[in-house]
């Protein structure tokens, strides 16, 4: 059974999914970072594959991607590192990447490697659902990698259900129409949107991401969804000078408000 299903089925507690950029802050930091995250309350990890032109990302993740590429990160090297991760952790792993590097690696080859690293899900924000259905859905099934699609406040009811039907594991709801790392706080409009999603009758559990940077925003998201995805706020907090990257303090703050 896919680890995402296992987690979401048994989780009385809400899922805390932390996004990291592979190869940032240092080339091989992924193993200690995931270990520290798991020890400090993360229950799912989203691994960002660095890309030179991350269109959906704000300055923080853009910068981390740039550094990761300068550190020499590639898709192939990432798969080597994920094998090392799996030696120390069984945490559900979701990869997030832009489509071009995946296409250059070969979509089937990519899914096969992901499967060998026991990756659980894959988010490709710029893969259109129509192309996914036509060309790639059978490959995701063959390698048991869960496809996860994004929905936004602008996504129509009809399309929401379409994207839900194509997704497995969970649906990734973007909290507002923005690039990553815009931290504006949640307004009534956000809450209305979360309410609408929560009562939409989706077949998949809902996870909410983008703009979650505080304990309070995390709790708000937990009121409506099975879990939250925290990216830019975490990347920003990574402190290379500390042996623990400042991870225990960050997680304690965001989860326990301490």
């Amino acid at each position: 059974m896919n680890r995402i299903d296992l987690l979401l089925k048994e989780a009385n507690n809400k899922v805390v999914n932390i996004y990291l950029t592979a190869g940032y802050p240092t080339f091989e930091s992924i193993v200690p970072i995931i270990q520290l995250l798991e020890q400090n309350g993360a229950t799912m990890i989203e691994v960002g594959i660095p890309f030179s032109d991350p269109l959906a990302d704000g300055p923080v993740i853009q910068h981390s991607s740039k550094i990761a590429l300068e550190n020499g990160m590639t898709t192939e090297l990432l798969f080597h590192q994920l094998k090392e991760v799996r030696k120390i952790s069984q945490i559900p792993l979701v990869l997030m990447g832009y489509l071009n590097p995946v296409i250059q690696f070969g979509v089937e080859n990519f899914l096969k490697n992901a499967s060998e690293c026991e990756v659980d899900g894959l988010i490709l924000p710029d893969l259109p659902p129509e192309i996914f259905e036509k060309d790639y859905q059978h490959l995701f099934e063959k390698y048991n990698i869960y496809p996860i699609f994004l929905v936004t406040p602008q996504t129509s009811e009809e399309r929401l259900h379409k994207l839900d039907s194509l997704s497995k594991g969970f649906v990734y709801a973007v909290s507002s129409s923005s690039t990553t790392g815009k931290n504006t706080g949640f307004t009534d409009e956000h809450l209305q949107y979360f309410k609408r999603l929560a009562s939409a009758g989706l077949k998949n559990p809902l996870m909410i991401g983008f703009g979650i940077s505080t304990h309070q925003s995390l709790q708000t998201v937990f009121d409506f969804a099975s879990g939250a995805i925290i990216g830019s706020a975490f990347i920003k907090s990574l402190d290379q000078k500390k042996t623990d990257f400042g991870i225990p303090a960050f997680m304690n703050q965001i989860i326990n408000d301490k």
């Binding site: 032109d53 071009n100 710029d126 192309i131 994004l150």
Partner: protein, 402 residues
């Protein structure tokens, strides 16, 4: 007359937004609604009599169309062919870019958008966008790479005088690609009131087709003007420079289905196609996705986009419009690589022989003349896409080093 037969024309976009294997709309969900809105209504709006009337009136009275088709007799003598220059440099704002911005700004108004964003490389598209926004009294924000802001200072000043806000793009190579990234991010963050005027035949469907249609006025005029001058509406060759490829798309458009008209694109080789400092996306590129479109682009084996180089800011782009990728792979058009120096020499040649200072971009098209063998009877149309005022600093530098 342009849209009815899309499906039977092998060189036009198909209903799903592809030119053969190229094109499509590979965009994150955050952009879906805006792009889908455009996709649903662009043809209906563009083909409506009200749009056509406003578009053509403005092109005539504000832009100064039709632009002349000038028979360059001195250049013809030198190369031994009949050479005509399509004088897009004589458009208001100095380049072909305004054909597209006039059209898109009318469309944006019909969509009820009151905030306009654009990316720009050389600044020509930025100036053309700032100009139509002043005309229509719309807010205008132009993203421009920091490097380009420096090398195209006169255009930055023009945009500011026209009331546009010029925002520097500081990521990557700080040129056109990065300005485009920033404009796309702006659109993601402003999904309701904003229209993004892409300046070339790049980006997600329907942009490549929409921009090509708005630039198709170039080849429409060439046909009737050439008929008046030679008795034949079809030349033997049409030559245009290709960065993203909008002036070439416009110059080729009405000849795409005329196999006897040879179409030649001039890509920027930069310091040479194997120098590592090039922008020849078709010749050295590989199929992949850039700015929402499947096309040919310069990238590493790992799929990271490579920073381009060209002396001409308008051609300094690592991708190319999907129409051109399709024309290249089907061999309907051929694409030559022109180095920085070859373009420079061609610009000085035109200035000396014909009294016209071309834009550095357009000089790449002129440089094709030296690379081909011509027959006396050949009728050659070169699309002179822009004028060279903005490039005077580069031209002066070249004079000093001689």
């Amino acid at each position: 007359m342009q849209s009815d037969n899309n499906t039977i024309h092998p060189f036009h976009v198909d209903p799903s937004g592809f030119y053969g294997d190229f094109g499509g709309a590979f965009i994150p969900e955050m952009l879906f609604n805006n792009v889908e809105e455009l996709r649903k209504c662009y043809l209906e709006i563009i083909e409506s009599p009200a749009f056509q009337k406003e578009y053509h009136n403005l092109l005539r009275d504000f832009v100064g169309r039709p632009t002349p088709l000038y028979e360059a007799t001195n250049l013809s003598k030198r190369y031994g062919a009949r050479i005509f220059l399509k004088r897009e440099d004589l458009n208001h704002t100095g380049a072909h870019k305004i054909n597209n911005t006039i059209g898109q700004v009318i469309l944006a108004k019909k969509l009820g958008k009151h905030r306009i964003i654009a990316e720009t490389g050389a600044g020509q598209h930025g100036v053309a966008t700032a100009t139509v926004c002043a005309l229509m009294q719309l807010e205008c924000i132009v993203y421009m790479g920091s490097v380009d802001i420096e090398r195209q200072a006169p255009n930055v000043a023009r945009m500011r005088m026209l009331g546009a806000k010029v925002v520097p793009a500081t990521s990557g190579s700080q040129t056109l690609k990065d300005a485009t990234n920033e404009a796309i991010r702006d659109w993601i963050n402003n999904p309701d009131d904003t229209h993004y005027i892409i300046g070339s035949v790049v980006g997600p469907h329907p942009y490549p087709d929409m921009v090509a249609r708005l630039q198709a006025i170039i080849s429409e005029e060439i046909k009737s003007q050439l008929f008046a001058k030679t008795g034949n509406e079809n030349p033997d060759f049409v030559i245009a420079c290709v960065g993203g490829g909008s002036n070439a798309a416009g110059a080729f458009y009405h000849f795409l289905d005329q196999p006897n008209v040879k179409l030649i694109g001039a890509e920027a080789a930069g310091e040479g196609i194997y120098s590592g400092k090039t922008a020849a996306s078709l010749v050295v590129g590989k199929t992949g996705i850039i700015h929402g479109s499947m096309t040919s682009l310069m990238q590493t084996p790992d799929g990271q986009i490579i920073e381009p180089h060209s002396i001409s800011a308008g051609l300094d782009y690592p991708g190319v419009g999907p129409l051109h990728a399709h024309l290249y792979h089907t061999k309907r058009a051929s694409y030559l690589s022109i180095s920085d120096q070859e373009a420079m020499d061609a610009a000085f040649e035109l200035a000396g022989l014909e009294g016209i200072i071309p834009a550095l971009e357009s000089a790449h098209a002129l440089a094709v003349l030296k690379k081909m063998k011509w027959k006396k009877s050949d009728i050659v149309v070169i699309n002179l896409s822009g004028r060279g005022d903005k490039d005077l600093a580069a031209y002066m530098k070249n004079l000093e080093t001689k």
